[in-house]
Symmetry: C2
């Protein structure tokens, strides 16, 4: 079975599954739609953390131990920035910096983020198509008990310590999906749309907030499969559980299913949460969702795509029913 | 004998003498006025090569073997920039880059180059006062047989290969001397103004092209001493001799004296050019002008300041005579 696959993701956790998909599929069949709500301007540079994580991960240059940034990285720029008294709360590796400087110059000369990503993906030899959710500025803002913080100030500088009261995606209402996003989701030949195990609130919601994307997800002919980022009440990495608690949401399979209700056709959960399967209103695949090595990424990718294949006829029947 | 000393310089050769002066004098008595005609925008960054050479040299972090940039430098940014297909004709070290990124952000937020230099000099523990010739944009442009080139394109990308027809300093007429430049040159207590052995055409002329600076030099009460960058018909480094030849000027002591005529009170030349002393219309000090080690820098600095002291009474008499 072949056909295009679309993945939605944020940074680290999501990018792992995106990598798996790009390895087990013909990479040219894969479109990855990436969150840009984390993007920000820092030291005059345009920084796109999730985009870069996806590029580095699929380009095979990501640092797997650190979990972000590039392998074989050095930090002499940061060292000197500190000596000069510059702002040093956001770590920029010497190699990583080339991406930011190039992107900033490219955007300033009138290029789009989409076009820059295409160029970088070519340079990294990436076969999959990587799209930003939008080429317009969308900025995730966190209302907290310590005031309103831009995402990176909350996430990196404050290490997610302030208590989250609300998340907002400034500019989302005025943004348009990047070229290719809606058409990929609406492709009649698509065999799966995968919501990667990224943070639903920080990484997937900004994508859904861009007008047209949620509609396209609700109406896509392909089965939409979400992979839960929660394993036995915990997130593999990052502040997902803490944020859910602060927003009054239990870190459970049910919460994730409820959050994506209305457009998912299936949910993938970890073996450890098998007991939850019965209480979810969409079909559930129980498997190992923890991705530690490449084999894990590949196996989960295969599981997700197979699960989608199994749901395809069901969705066709359901959709036909709905239009009757 | 004490009193302020002012030095005018460009990059490498000039910075060596500036360093010597800062070592043999009370550094707080030294003001260094630096060429900014070499400044340019590259990859969206504001780069000031001569300013940085002076900062790195006096800050003790310059790479003495390479002759430019910082010691203990790494090149991972450049390596990655090349992989991304970025413009890579201008070498930017990982440590060096911090200066450019910080300066660019500082200027873009409304700060002046002067203020940025003050901050950087403090960070490097530099006692001397370093001033840009101007805070306004002045750009050296080279008319050549290969067309008109911006300075760095001519100097770095084309390695000075095109034949120079003329040098122009765009923006100079509209520029104002940076705060402190004219007052330093006009200080009645000043004991010497030193034209460092920089390229007269590429490094000193842009400074002189800023309205008010040549006037201030012509009227300074202190003896003005130029150190010839020519040793036995050769320049220690750089394209001085090639450019002089292309402009139809012999690479001689006499040419240098003629170029600075009207405001110098003394010329310092190398032992190898002792025979030229008689044919120069201002007093000449013959000494070793080649600066290989720190001792050379210090000794030349002492020679220049002593020479100025010897000329002081003569200048006072001459100036008194002129106003009679």
């Amino acid at each position: 079975m072949t056909g295009p696959v679309v993945a939605l993701c944020g940074g680290i956790g999501g990018a792992k599954l995106a990598l798996g998909l790009s390895r087990v599929l013909d990479a040219r069949q894969l479109t990855i739609i990436v969150n840009t709500g984390d993007d920000f301007e820092h030291l005059g540079l345009s920084i796109s953390p999730d985009i870069d994580t996806v590029l580095y991960t699929l380009g095979g240059v990501a640092d797997r131990d650190r979990g972000w940034g590039r392998a074989d990285e050095t930090w002499h720029f940061m060292e000197t920035l500190r000596e000069l008294g510059g702002e040093h709360w956001f770590q920029l590796g010497d190699r990583d910096l080339a991406m930011h400087v190039e992107r900033t110059a490219f955007l300033r000369s009138g290029g789009t983020l989409s076009a820059f990503i295409r160029r970088a993906a070519r340079a990294f030899g990436i076969g999959a198509r990587i799209l930003p959710m939008t080429d317009d500025p969308v900025r995730t803002v966190v209302d907290t008990d310590a005031g309103t913080l831009s995402f990176q100030r909350y996430f990196v500088e404050r290490r997610c310590t302030p208590v989250v009261q609300a998340l907002r995606f400034e500019g989302a209402q005025e943004a348009a999906p990047a070229a290719g996003v809606v058409s990929a989701l609406s492709d009649l030949a698509a065999r799966a749309v995968v919501i990667c195990p990224s943070n639903p609130y920080l990484s997937i919601d900004p994508i859904l907030a861009v007008p047209g994307i949620r509609d396209a997800l609700e109406n896509t002919p392909a089965p939409v499969i979400a992979v839960s980022p929660i394993i036995a009440g915990q997130a593999v990495k990052g502040p997902t559980v803490k944020i859910m608690a602060e927003l009054g949401i239990g870190a459970t399979t049910q919460s994730i299913a409820a959050h994506y209700q209305g457009f998912i056709d299936g949910l993938v959960i970890d073996d450890g949460d098998a007991a939850d399967a019965a209480s979810v209103s969409v079909p559930v695949l129980v498997t190992r969702t923890l991705m530690q090595d490449f084999a894990d990424r590949d196996r989960l990718a295969v599981d997700v795509v197979s699960f989608a294949a199994a749901l395809t006829s069901r969705k066709v029947a359901r959709t036909a029913g709905a239009t009757r």
